[in-house]
């Protein structure tokens, strides 16, 4: 028994740690351990791979690559702000997709040099390549949109369906040519040229897939691309005949699919709708503005002093945090505000929409960072019946998830999306930078409600001012 025969055993251990790791991530008490168990399994797999015969010639390349990639990944992961987590996940996901595509290209090239161009491995290679490349470029666009490098608005152009269809068709035809060669054993064109063309087309397809999707839907897209990468890795595992890649990739493919469905469900939209629904580019937003302002209602703006008084005399306050809070890094100020209010005997709770922030659970992470106790955070289903009894609902940087149009206006693009019933509170204070519509690009009727007062300003500054006023009054 040589060291090399032990490699599959090490891979089996790694596969088990991945399953245990994912299981651990299901509960807050075991999540940290779960993640570390999976990381340990990954380390075991990597160390074992160094003993593989295929690796021997490439040790310098591999070590150099691990150093460069490790430093980049570590530095990026350590320095990224909590608010920028979603785009960071997108970036790492894209890296994985790119790696899967490259692995499939290299393995295909190797098998061709050996003279073999069999149907099975060729099919797996093509799938890994196409899915991996789509995930790579799609994640890059998702990153750009969340980071604000590319407009978060849905980007649409004439003939879009035609372009997308043409891309799919071209990839299909080229793949068919390669696969047919796998059967007949003969091919007229150099296979690597076809592979290169497919790679390019798949990259363009990834861009074309994500560019038309509005920024508000990016979490769903990242989750979907995460599942894609898992699938690409599994397919690369088929090409390589590596069970560990198949197990790990498939686990992620399954988890990503579930998560994507959960997120779509939270937004009450089917996945197809997210991908092809032109959310955010809809002119419906503009039409709604006109309708809303035409009926004579107007917005009411208040000062920090007034807001402090309103809050100071309340008994029940529900804070509705949104992405604006995260961007302004206001979570610590908000906790300070809650502390001051609680010292006055006021009951402060937080209403967390399933997609508050940019991803499910994102807001919980941010508030936990500011040491807001778990038992103050309430899910939408739990808190919605409480709004009528709340004296003040304080909306901080949240927009679309509070829009009553989702309940009442069948013409609205977000109609049917579950929302927080903020408009049922006795008073509503909305802290917002400007009247600009939210990420989905839709106007919010809540702001025109007579009991709603707008406190304009940066979330952190505005909350800070309210805290000052409250302390002064005390």
């Amino acid at each position: 028994m040589t060291v090399e025969t032990l490699i599959p055993l090490a891979y089996l251990i790694a596969a088990v740690t991945f399953i245990l790791g994912l299981k651990g991530l299901s509960s807050p008490t075991t999540a940290v351990m779960g993640n570390r168990i999976a990381a340990a399994g990954m380390l075991i797999a990597v160390i074992a791979t160094f003993f593989a015969a295929e690796v021997r010639g490439g040790i310098p390349i591999i070590l150099a690559g691990i150093v460069v990639g490790g430093v980049a990944g570590f530095a990026g992961a350590r320095t990224v702000k909590m608010t920028a987590m979603p785009q960071m996940v997108a970036l790492f996901n894209g890296a994985g997709g790119g790696a899967a595509a490259l692995v499939s290209i290299l393995e295909f090239s190797r098998q061709r040099d050996l003279g073999a161009l069999e149907f099975g491995p060729t099919l797996a290679t093509l799938l890994a390549l196409v899915i991996g490349a789509v995930s790579f470029s799609g994640s890059a666009i998702a990153f750009g949109k969340l980071q604000g490098i590319i407009t978060p608005k849905a980007f649409r152009y004439a003939g879009q369906q035609v372009v997308t269809a043409a891309l799919v068709l071209a990839v299909g035809v080229l793949s068919f040519v390669l696969l047919a060669a796998g059967f007949t054993g003969a091919i007229a064109v150099e296979p690597m040229l076809i592979i290169a063309a497919i790679t390019l087309l798949a990259l363009v397809f990834g861009v074309a897939l994500v560019l038309p999707i509005g920024g508000a839907d990016m979490p769903v897209v990242i989750s979907l691309l995460n599942a894609y990468t898992g699938l690409a890795v599994a397919m690369a595992g088929f090409t390589l005949g590596n069970q560990l890649l198949i197990v790990a990739g498939t686990l992620v493919g399954a988890s990503g699919t579930i998560l994507t469905r959960l997120m779509s469900k939270a937004m009450n939209r089917s996945l197809g709708n997210v991908l092809f629904g032109a959310f955010g580019a809809a002119p419906a937003g503009g039409a709604a503005t006109a309708a809303a302002t035409d009926d004579g209602r107007s917005i009411r703006s208040i000062s920090a002093e007034d807001a402090a008084i309103l809050l100071g005399y309340a008994q029940n306050v529900i804070v509705v945090p949104g992405y604006g809070l995260a961007v302004a890094q206001a979570q610590h100020s908000v906790r300070e505000l809650a502390d001051v209010l609680e010292s006055k005997g006021i009951n402060v709770r937080y209403a967390i929409h399933p997609v508050a922030g940019r991803m499910p659970g994102h807001m919980n992470v941010l508030l936990a960072e500011a040491n807001v106790p778990y038992d103050k955070l309430f899910d939408m289903e739990q808190i919605n019946p409480e709004f009528p009894r709340a004296d003040v609902a304080l909306v901080i940087g949240a927009n679309d998830v509070t829009n009553p149009a989702a309940r009442s206006n069948p013409g609205s693009p977000i109609y049917g999306m579950p929302i927080l019933d903020v408009d049922k509170a006795q008073n509503v204070i909305v802290i917002k930078r400007s009247m600009k519509p939210g990420f989905a690009g839709i106007d919010n009727d809540l702001y025109l409600d007579p009991k709603t007062a707008m406190l304009f300003g940066d979330a952190k500054e505005a909350v800070g001012k309210v805290v000052q006023e409250l302390k002064r009054a005390a």
């Binding site: 990026g76 890296a95 994985g96 692995v103």
Partner: protein, 98 residues
């Protein structure tokens, strides 16, 4: 279909079921860390990258192999570290950090 391919197919299909079973019971609070953790796990592609890093002789093959290892490593390291950071937020007892 070769014996090896059918084994691979078995592994694939069974892993789908395991994936659904293990993951379908996650509280929504942990969805973001879960996505990130799953993201780190598909970084296992680094093993594939290592196996093919020197598969193709010549500079182009080496460059592509190097890039594959870089991307795979960034996926693994970045993924696990980001997840760990996110989860550290949940670990703190309220009021411990002043």
């Amino acid at each position: 279909m070769s014996g090896e391919a059918i084994v691979a197919a078995y592994v694939f299909v069974l892993a789908i079921f395991v994936g659904f079973e293990v993951i379908s019971k996650v509280p929504s609070t942990l969805h973001t860390p879960l996505m990130s953790g799953a993201n780190a796990i598909h970084g296992i592609v680094i093993v594939g990258a290592m196996l093919v890093a020197s598969a193709i002789p010549g500079p182009l093959g080496s460059v592509l192999g190097f890039l594959a290892v870089v991307l795979g490593t960034a996926n693994v390291v970045g993924g696990f570290v980001v997840t760990d950071r996110m989860l550290a937020m949940f670990k703190q007892r309220p009021g411990k950090r002043q």
